[in-house]
């Protein structure tokens, strides 16, 4: 992990846009990125084995799948490590880097930065030990709904991750405040603007899960509380659970908006509208959680209707992004000689892994965006709710657009951290395209299986109820699992190769980070955070006030948490 010694970086001339890391940055950012990749490694390889468990044909020929014998343990590890730990570590490391470089100042407190890292890393270790040590008891999946209660260490690991991320958020906010005091009439660079939005969303969203874990799940796990309320817990979880996906997505958008245009050889189309898009995420990404609860019996249909509308609105900034980034890519292709209406997608730098990974991610993300609009449509929910359509959707978005963009970032940031060139560019390209093919097949197969009634997160390979069509598509899912496993191996060959085997010095001047905002047209009121937080507060009150009143059931007095579970953890 952090014990990898980073050699002294050879100084390169400090021309604009040049990537030059000082030792302090390399350690801090390197620690976060490398820990993130180790967390991902412990989760990602569970994925293909889950796909094998879900395939009736595979199970028929290999009744006992080696390595990961307990499917639900693998699902828990895959979700918790990939979606919670990998993302949080990676986002914080990447955002420190962007903030320091864009604002040209170190983060507010290096000490707090390390304290946050230490908390999160302890959380990671505790979580891994718990999932490996108590496979049955800790198999509560990454949504950990009660009355399934995991060992207390599971929740303590989560608490440490979230508290660490709060410290990191404060560090970023205070760095911005210091910068703003020195530059009162300047617009903050777009990348930092987006990162501030991202951490505000994170801090608001995590209130929900913090209340759930600290006041319901952890006390229940410790035996202090004997009762719980699953409906309240689900509502608190999804207050957190949907904005969480924007916390993953916005750093990828930072790369698409502020780095990809230069990496691809073009320029961003409209910076003011990019800011408007990010502000829309700030206001609309939290009050939408009920679209995960359309099938819940304890929440009224009218509130679900309001959240449907808000969910459709939160797709607007992504549509704006598609135009803005698409136009930037078109300008890049025109610079490279594209002439006709439809040749510009092909005249991209498909041979550059950093660009290709982001383009491949966008293709998957477009599919994920439309499957998401279907999920958000309340009347279609009964067709796809809790079926394998849902993991198909979020593997196109999180596993496709977001993760491939993080991998693109890794392919330039890791060499800068290590001071060595990427181990192998052809391997990186092979990784990107196998990922694109594998995830496309995965999305298609899981989506189709879901439409044929196959449930998500179940050992469908042994289920007695599968239709032949669902069985066929689940077999196809196993095929995609093989392709994605190859892609993952390629990713880690390059990762460890760059860390330990690469001998070439890192290429200089490759990182396109804005240090000052070239934007003179964005209105300054876009940066009046109080207004936007106020708008978010009002919207939260409208969208969630009635929901919590209903779930807490005040009409019958203060008698929440009255349900006593008869069985605790999922027993074998």
């Amino acid at each position: 992990m952090a014990s990898i010694t980073l050699p002294q970086l050879t100084e390169v001339p400090a021309t604009p846009g040049t990537l030059k890391l000082v030792q302090r940055e390399r350690l801090m950012i390197g620690a976060h990125i490398i820990t993130a990749m180790l967390a991902l490694m412990s989760g990602i390889f569970m994925g293909p084995f889950q796909a094998f468990h879900r395939s009736p044909t595979f199970i028929q020929y290999f009744p006992t799948i080696p390595v990961f014998t307990y499917y639900y343990q693998a699902v828990t590890a895959h979700g918790v490590m990939n979606a919670l730990f990998f993302t949080t570590f990676f986002i914080i490391g990447f955002c420190y880097f962007v903030v320091e470089r864009s604002l040209q100042r170190p983060i507010k407190s290096v000490l707090v930065g390390w304290a946050a890292y230490a908390l999160m890393t302890i959380g990671l270790v505790i979580m891994l030990i718990t999932i490996l040590g108590a496979p049955q008891q800790s198999a509560v999946l990454y949504t950990f709904y009660p009355p399934n209660i995991a060992p207390a260490l599971f929740y303590i690991g989560l608490v440490l991750l979230v508290v660490g991320s709060w410290l990191a958020s404060a560090n970023i906010f205070l760095t911005y405040r210091d910068w703003k005091r020195e530059h009162p009439n300047e617009r903050v660079p777009l990348a930092v603007f987006a990162i501030l939005v991202n951490f505000i969303v994170w801090c608001v969203a995590t209130i929900g899960v913090a209340v759930e874990v600290l006041f319901m799940l952890l006390p229940a796990s410790l035996g202090i509380l004997k009762t719980t309320d699953p409906q309240l817990a689900r509502t608190l979880f999804w207050f957190f659970g949907h904005p969480l996906v924007y916390f993953w997505l916005l750093p990828a958008y930072v790369s698409w908006y502020t780095m990809l245009p230069r990496q691809a050889g073009g320029r961003l189309f409209s910076e003011p509208l990019a800011r408007v898009a990010f502000l829309m995420f700030l206001v609309f990404s939290v009050p939408v959680g009920l679209h995960h609860q359309f099938s819940d019996p304890g929440v009224s249909a009218s509130s679900k209707g309001i959240h449907t509308l808000l969910t459709l609105i939160v797709s607007v900034p992504s549509f704006m992004t598609a135009f803005n980034v698409g136009a930037a890519l078109e300008s890049a292709a025109r610079n490279r000689g594209a002439k006709t209406l439809f040749d510009w997608p092909f005249k991209q730098k498909w041979g550059d892994p950093v660009v290709a990974a982001q383009l491949a991610g966008m293709l998957l993300f477009i599919a994920g965006g439309f499957s998401g609009l279907i999920n958000a449509s309340a009347q279609l929910n009964a067709t796809i709710h809790n079926t394998s359509w849902v993991p198909a959707h979020f593997h196109q978005t999180l596993g496709g657009g977001v993760t491939l963009t993080y991998i693109a970032i890794l392919y330039w940031l890791l060499p800068a951290i290590r001071g060595r060139a990427l181990f192998s560019k052809p391997l990186a390209l092979a990784q990107v395209f196998t990922w694109l093919i594998g995830m496309t097949l995965f999305g298609l197969a899981m989506g189709e299986a879901g439409l044929q009634g196959a449930p998500r997160r179940a050992i469908t390979g042994q289920a007695p109820y599968l239709s032949p069509a669902a069985a066929f598509w689940l077999d196809m899912t196993a095929v995609s699992g093989v392709i994605l496993m190859i892609s993952s191996v390629l990713l880690y060959v390059n990762f460890f190769g760059t860390l330990f085997l690469s001998r070439q010095p890192a290429p200089a001047g490759e990182v396109p980070i804005e240090t000052v905002s070239g934007d003179r047209t964005s209105p300054l009121w876009l940066e009046r955070w109080g207004i936007w937080l106020g708008a978010l507060g009002v919207l939260l009150l409208i969208a969630y006030g009635p929901v919590f009143a209903e779930v807490l059931d005040f009409q019958e007095g203060w008698n929440i948490l009255r349900y006593m579970p008869t069985s605790n953890a999922p027993m074998p």
Binding site: Y72, V75, Q136, A139, P147, N148, Q231, R234, F269, S270, P272, L273, V276, Q293, F294, S295, D296, P297, G298, V299, S300, A301, G305, T308, L309, L312, I313, S315, V316, F319, F323, N324, A327, S377, A378, Q379, N381, A382, T383, H385, N386, T387, G453, P455, R456, A458, I459, Q462, A463, P464, Y465, T521, E550, R562, Y563, M564, P565, T566, S567, P570
Partner: protein, 161 residues
């Protein structure tokens, strides 16, 4: 703040697209009568014997109209002794069935293949949904919410005759 001409066209197209999605939702609710679950009643999962869930099963309430009361527990659906385990429920063609379902232990799911019924079974809450069975055939009831090690074998069958 200036907005480019093409970007304006794009935003209008986005507005129209989302308008179509919203219109589809409204049509689904008003014309096709698709309803999302709404609160029915709370029950104490440990005191189900004092509620309608004391005797699960299917009751005929009118011509071609039925009520089915089902209790989910790890890892089976209990639809009364007549239905057996895993339960098999039979309805004539063109019958309308209202399901009342709850869980007595952990979270479960209740989905019927090929029909617009897909419920989260939250302990302490009664889930209700009405389904029209118009096409003859066999449709599985699938628990689609993770409920522990035996989750994938929790199911039932509906036969429309």
């Amino acid at each position: 703040m200036e907005i480019n001409k093409f970007e304006r066209y794009w935003l209008i197209a986005v507005g129209v697209t989302l308008g179509a999605f919203i219109a589809a939702t409204i049509v689904a609710v008003t014309v096709f009568g698709i309803r999302l679950p709404s609160p029915v009643e709370r029950v104490n999962p440990q005191r189900l014997d004092q509620t309608i869930f004391a005797s699960p099963g299917v009751r005929k309430i009118a011509d071609n109209r039925y009520e089915a009361v089902i209790v989910a527990k790890s890892w089976a659906f209990n639809a009364g002794p007549e239905a057996g385990s895993p339960p098999v429920l039979r309805f004539p063609r063109r019958s309308q069935v209202t399901f009342y379902v709850t869980s007595q232990d952990v979270m479960h799911g209740f989905q019927i293949e090929g029909h617009t019924i897909n419920l989260e079974l939250v302990p302490g809450q009664v889930a209700r949904a009405t389904v029209n069975f118009n096409r003859p055939g066999e449709y599985n009831i699938i628990c689609n919410h993770y409920c522990g090690a035996g989750h994938h074998v929790m199911y039932g069958t509906i036969i429309v005759e």
